[in-house]
């Protein structure tokens, strides 16, 4: 086959049409695309990029519609309301949150906490008023699915807005940031959409590994509610006093561990805080791998972490953490086998950490952080 094509015998003058007897039509074939790309290059790129982004937006629209449908179907099936709940649900889905002004950051955490909790309280009370016979367990499930559907609606709206603005202005640089962030947005949105079945079925999610570990430690102990949707159990381990803390399962909630810690610290002298949580793995890291470290391992908007850090600093209590690494998708969808299999190992590491970080007779708080959906205590 190679003998048919002689690569050593090219006539470059002919190839690039640069000789005197060049055909003017051939010249135009070269020059027109150059002129086109110089003047309209960005617009061409805009069209190519647009088609990719359009596919993403179509997918996001699908997620938005599906999550809304799943929410309405779930409410209709489980709560059997007398009236059609669609209109009321749609009103909830459109709720937005305006975060406080951060020009003067002094006191911003309290303001953020107030805004976020007001939203949660309002949603909870209104869902309750719409369906008065709803149990607390179902209420937390609906609240979580509502949050997911509302977030998917907001993501679709923002991405679509950025895309349409760039298209309207025919502005290629404006579409670049969207092109860059879209794969990450899609990953989050897909994870959220896939999280709905687990919350509907009351199954544990990857984020619940901290609750699962501490929940099992609490099983034989007497439990008390110490803060909103948060339970405490007191026990002993090798003459150390243990305060076990987690969100109240099996409802879908993260509880208020910082408020609970504040109450415990106000009554008891603590010598260590150990937090068990799920953590986002870095690319290349193994899923379900366990890591130990210092500092408060708790996600969310930052309000709880701020409060825990403030309490620990004020009372000079060291904070240790054990985390189970996982992806965004794994953290909010049904717990994987690999993560579930790590629960016993994490529990033994917690006991080792208690022995290493405290002396006999001392007190330690162990906080199981994360959504406790499907994880009782």
């Amino acid at each position: 086959m190679l003998s048919l094509v002689n690569f050593t015998n090219f006539d470059f003058d002919q190839l690039f049409a640069m000789s005197d007897d060049t055909n003017p039509i051939m010249m135009l074939i070269w020059i027109i695309p150059i002129i086109l790309f110089v003047f309209y290059g960005q617009r061409i790129q805009l069209y190519i990029t647009s088609s990719e982004i359009k596919k993403g937006i179509k997918k996001l629209y699908g997620f938005k519609v599906e999550s809304r449908k799943e929410l309405i179907d779930y409410i209709t099936k489980t709560l059997k309301p007398k009236d059609d709940p669609t209109k009321k649900i749609d009103r909830f889905l459109d709720y937005f949150t305006i975060l406080p002004v951060d020009m003067d950051p002094n006191g911003i955490v309290d303001k953020v906490r107030h805004t976020v909790r007001s939203r949660e309280d309002y949603t909870r009370e209104h869902v309750k008023s719409l369906f008065p016979e709803i149990s607390d367990f179902e209420l937390t499930k609906i609240q979580t699915i509502l949050e997911i559907a509302s977030s998917l609606q907001m993501i679709y709206k923002i991405v679509n807005h950025m895309f349409l603005t760039a298209k309207k202005q025919n502005n290629y640089p404006l579409i670049l940031p969207l092109q860059m962030i879209l794969p990450f947005v899609m990953e989050q949105a897909e994870a959220m959409k896939e999280a709905i079945p687990a919350f509907k079925a009351g199954q544990p999610v990857g984020d619940g590994i901290g609750s699962m570990v501490v929940g099992k430690m609490m099983l034989e102990c007497e439990k008390e509610t110490i803060a909103f949707q948060t339970v405490l159990a007191k026990t002993e381990f090798e003459t150390r006093k243990l305060f076990l803390l987690k969100a109240e399962g099996p409802s879908s909630t993260v509880g208020r561990p910082a408020d609970a810690l504040e109450t415990i610290v106000s009554i008891n002298k603590l010598d260590a805080i150990i937090m068990v949580d799920a953590a986002l793995k870095m690319e290349g890291e193994d899923s379900a791998s366990i890591a130990q470290g210092f500092g408060a391992a708790i996600g969310g908007i930052g309000v709880e972490r701020f409060q825990i850090e403030a309490i620990a600093t004020k009372n000079n209590i060291p904070v240790f953490s054990i985390v189970v690494k996982q992806s965004v998708k794994e953290s909010i969808t049904l717990m994987t086998k690999e993560i579930a299999n790590q629960a016993d190992d994490v529990r033994s590491q917690v006991y080792e950490m208690i022995q290493e970080s405290t002396k006999q007779g001392q007190s330690v708080v162990i906080i199981g952080v994360g959504n406790t959906a499907g994880v009782p205590q």
């Binding site: 687990a198 079925a201 009351g202 199954q203 544990p204 699962m212 929940g215 099992k216 099983l219 099996p250 969808t333 049904l334 717990m335 994987t336 086998k337 993560i339 579930a340 299999n341 629960a343 499907g374 994880v375 009782p376 205590q377």
Partner: protein
């Protein structure tokens, strides 16, 4: 994308006998909750507790 396989996740429940410690894996059933009493052990007369609930994903 044309050749990407469809992923299906199935939920499973693992029961552990409180008496003989035998583990049994079965498909998740509605109402299964972690750490709760589940069914009679198949190898002794003990009761089983739900030890784990997890999902396994297969590509089709």
């Amino acid at each position: 994308m044309m050749f990407s396989k469809k992923k299906i996740t199935t939920a499973y429940t693992v029961e552990k006998c409180t008496k003989c410690g035998m583990l049994r894996k079965r498909k998740f059933a509605e109402g299964d909750v972690l750490f709760t009493e589940s069914s009679k052990c198949t190898s002794c007369d003990g009761m089983t507790n739900i030890e784990k609930i997890f999902g396994e994903t297969i590509e089709q």
